[in-house]
Amino acid sequence: MCRASVLAATSYRRRWKCRTQRLALWSVGLLALLSSTTACSGAPAPPPAAEVAALQWDSVLSMARGTTVAWRMWRGDPSINAYVDRWVAPRLRDRYGITLNAFPGQGPEIINELVVEREAGVSGSADLVWINGETFSNLRAEGLLGGPWAHRLPNAVLVDSASPVISRDFEQDPAGYESPWGRVQFALIYDTVRTPEPPRTFAELADWIRAHPGRFTHDQQFTGMTFLKMLMYARAGGVEAFQGGFDEARYRAGSARVWEWLDEARSSFWRGGEAYPPGVADLHRLFANREVDFSMSNNHNEVVTKVRQGILPPTARALLLRDGTIANSHYLGIPYNAPNPAGAMVVADFLLSPEAQLEKLRPEVWADGTVLDVERLPPRWRRRFAAAEADPRSLPRDSLARYARPEVAPRYHERLSEDWRARVRRGP
């Protein structure tokens, strides 16, 4: 009887249910409405970057006025964010009437996004992307970058184009599809108190690691892989041996020497080489907390900002290995589907201005190396740049230049990461 009455009673509630279902329908409808407002806001296709680049700069400036530039960039460092949001953005607004909208995303995410946008056939959502190396190569290979445009920027003449580190991005010619923004060089980070006599070469480092088991490691991402790549240069004939594009045989020979070195050293790594910090920030934390005695950075000046932020101890210093350390530049690209290439070009040009480059170089701001040929600047600017680099923790420019090694084809980097994940990270 009970069951029957329950069943029966429910049928009389059908109308009740209709009401609640209507409530649900309303909600779904509201959502659909919300979605359609975005889905239907398709504007006419913007002009591609190459077309805009062909215009007079004044026309580019007037096209850019009053627009918003969406800039996809790495947003993980408050110093960089502050530079972009609080120094760059207001100046862009005041001088060019451009609203800068920076949002997070790096390397693979940018590729992923553009690939996905192309697959979905929707208009682009980024005007400017912060890229280099393998990201640039992948984007170029997939035809996801607009251009050429970089050589049309008024400030492009100031760029230190004689430097191979700037004129070549991982052996590739930027070809006007990206504009240089900053220049950095790999450095080990050590503590002058804990390790007053740090190793200066890979050979010395290996000895040091064996003598101090558990005190060294590298991260699993870009920085750690750069470290391995330098190791490959050092043990297999220098950077010259790997120039001229990717070659499987040379890679095999070179990487074999890397695995050899690692097989010998890694049992003396932190945690016996069985675990690696996920990212370089985690490595910094291990270093600061004395779990390991070395950290590393792709930016020789990072130690300056990180000490200032209190993340690294005040006695931390950068160190260049005499086998040579990789120097590279980072660039700004404009996606093929960027809605506002004119605005993006104006931003890229402003970021190349001596003013913006100097501000970025200052240790209390970011300490990111300049891509300008400082010697060609007026003396007033030369003095300012010299003063900015005079921080006691900074490495002298001549030793940076002496040990700088260029990047080679991005494929080496990719293969090394892939094989490291499969061979080393997964254990012997």
Partner: protein
């Protein structure tokens, strides 16, 4: 049976997005859509990814972490619920405190895990202050460790609050009457707990336990922050493949996504099957 059709249709609406995701992932996994589109569909990618030992190690490892944290959190919840159920001040304070982590996002738990459980974290520093250790290396590795101890502890801490709440409401509902019956039938307090309280609680906690298990199995943030580099927790491996610079490997992620959803579906299906087999488990 119009009514049941409606009920199932309503459930279908809620489940539909998963279906959309599964269909897209399946199409991408066999190459019908996606970047590295080969000529037509092919199961090669699925076969290659599923043949990777790393994938299965990640899967097993994630299953281990999910089981261990669920059991740990469940056992702690069971004990706490049984001990602090009275009306006293201590009981009430313990109850209020125990549910505090309930609304805390996983991410915050992960941040805390890093700050507290790392070898140079606060736990290690406390050990140093007590002169138990000399250096971070002497502290047992709880973060990035092969057994995922820190990860398990963090997740168990987070989910404990949820399970203890479930346990308390089950006890409040019918615990006392059953226990009184057991006591008058001659059971000692210990026997009462073992034979009456614990089984009643366990059955009430089964659905919550399954939910916790599947949450943890799929949870990303804590695993990404505290998990080891080998094997990578399954969700972390999925994202690593999805954002691989090599566009060809990007679609591997879809195979892993299907694997993850499949495991979740298995857990859910098993749970509903168990509940239909033993309806009294519904409490």
């Amino acid at each position: 049976m119009r009514r049941s059709w409606k009920g199932l249709a309503a459930a279908g609406v809620v489940a539909a997005p998963v279906g959309v995701g599964v269909v897209y992932a399946a199409a991408a996994a066999v190459g019908l859509v996606g970047v590295s589109r080969p000529d037509g569909a092919s199961g090669q990618r699925v076969a290659r990814v599923l043949a990777e030992p790393a994938v299965w190690e990640s899967t097993l490892w994630s299953l281990w972490v999910a089981s261990a944290s669920t059991i740990l959190a469940g056992a702690a919840a069971l004990g706490t619920a049984a001990v602090f159920r009275g009306p006293g001040r201590l009981d009430r304070s313990a109850r209020s405190a125990a549910v505090l982590p309930l609304p805390i996002p996983h991410l915050v738990a992960g941040v805390l895990g890093l700050l507290i459980l790392g070898q140079s974290g606060l736990l290690g520093r406390a050990a140093y202050a007590l002169r138990l250790v000399q250096a971070p290396a002497d502290v047992p590795a709880l973060v990035y460790d092969g057994w995922g101890v820190g990860l398990i502890l963090t997740l168990a801490w987070k989910e404990f609050a949820f399970l203890v709440l479930v346990a308390w409401s089950a006890l409040a509902e019918r615990g006392a009457a059953l226990e009184e019956a057991a006591r008058t039938l001659g059971a000692s307090p210990g026997q009462t707990f073992r034979r009456v309280t614990a089984p009643v609680l366990l059955r009430a906690m089964l659905p919550a336990g399954v939910a916790v298990f599947t949450f943890i199995l799929g949870s990303f943030e804590v695993a990404a922050l505290l998990g080891p580099s080998d094997p990578l927790p399954l969700p972390v491996l999925t994202l690593e493949r999805y954002t691989d610079a090599d566009l060809g490997r990007r679609s591997d992620a879809f195979v892993l996504a299907l694997l993850g959803i499949g495991l979740a579906a298995l857990a859910v299906g098993g749970h509903e099957w168990a509940r239909s087999r033993w309806p009294d488990l519904e409490g």
